[in-house]
Amino acid sequence: MSMQSSEEAAFVQDEVSSIVKESIDQVMQIATYNHAKVPQWTSDVIETCMKKLTLLNKPFKYIVTCAIMQRTGAGLHMASSCYWDNTSDGSVTQKWENKTCYCIVTVFGLAI
């Protein structure tokens, strides 16, 4: 029995990138940094992302990480290192900012 073609099972960066961007815009558009609301926002952004990713119906495990930081002039570095299969797995990072906060969302997709 032949396996499914590899195009279907590869991580498509552009597709996922646009999904992430849409999700962040949807939730954070009208947001001014408010400490009490941040947990809600992080959850919302991630849930929205996840729902759209599952609609792609691909045989992937997903990890979505969202970091929201208040804009006070401090620096932040984010690094990631992955031990996976280069041909089928991939990641996408999207940065978003407005006057009061930064939002960084990373999606890792690993083929099953």
Binding site: I46, M50, Y62, T65, Q70, S80, S81, Y83
Partner: protein, 142 residues
């Protein structure tokens, strides 16, 4: 006749294994230990205090240096977890390092995976002028 060497086609037999066996499962405390050890090592130099002024840290936040530090920490954690010997797992290590400036940072993550076999472990380090958060995701793969 054509004698050019060709790699024999590898055929993998079924193991009929659906998930990790008990001895193959990731041990969360061990991974936590690796994270703590690496973060402590990397961050040690940021804690150097000025001997002449009380409570004043010598080390000043430098953007490129911290970038380098976070990449090194990532590699070191990945190496450490690989050495623990979980052969059937794919690893993702994420490190966030920044300046402690009185700002708030919130990180959340959600995962769509198999909860019986996949784990995530995280550790943090907040001291002096720096903070560092490291998360390791281990996903079972046949």
């Amino acid at each position: 006749m054509d004698f050019t060497a060709q790699e024999p086609v590898k055929v993998y037999e079924n193991t009929y294994q659906m998930g990790p066996r008990d001895d193959q499962k990731v041990s969360i405390p061990r991974v936590e230990e690796v994270i703590k050890r690496v973060l402590n090592e990397k961050m040690e130099m940021t804690l150097e205090k000025d001997p002449t002024k009380r409570d004043k840290h010598l080390w000043i936040y430098d953007h490129e240096e911290v970038g380098e530090m976070s990449r090194e920490a990532c590699e070191a954690i990945q190496q450490g977890v690989k050495e623990l010997g979980y052969t059937k797992y794919k690893l993702i290590v994420q490190v966030q390092m920044g300046e402690n400036n009185g700002q708030a940072l919130r990180t959340a993550s959600r995962c769509l995976w198999a909860p019986e076999s996949d784990v995530s472990v995280s550790g943090s380090f907040v001291k002096g002028r720096m903070f560092a958060v490291a998360t390791v995701f281990c996903l079972y793969h046949e």
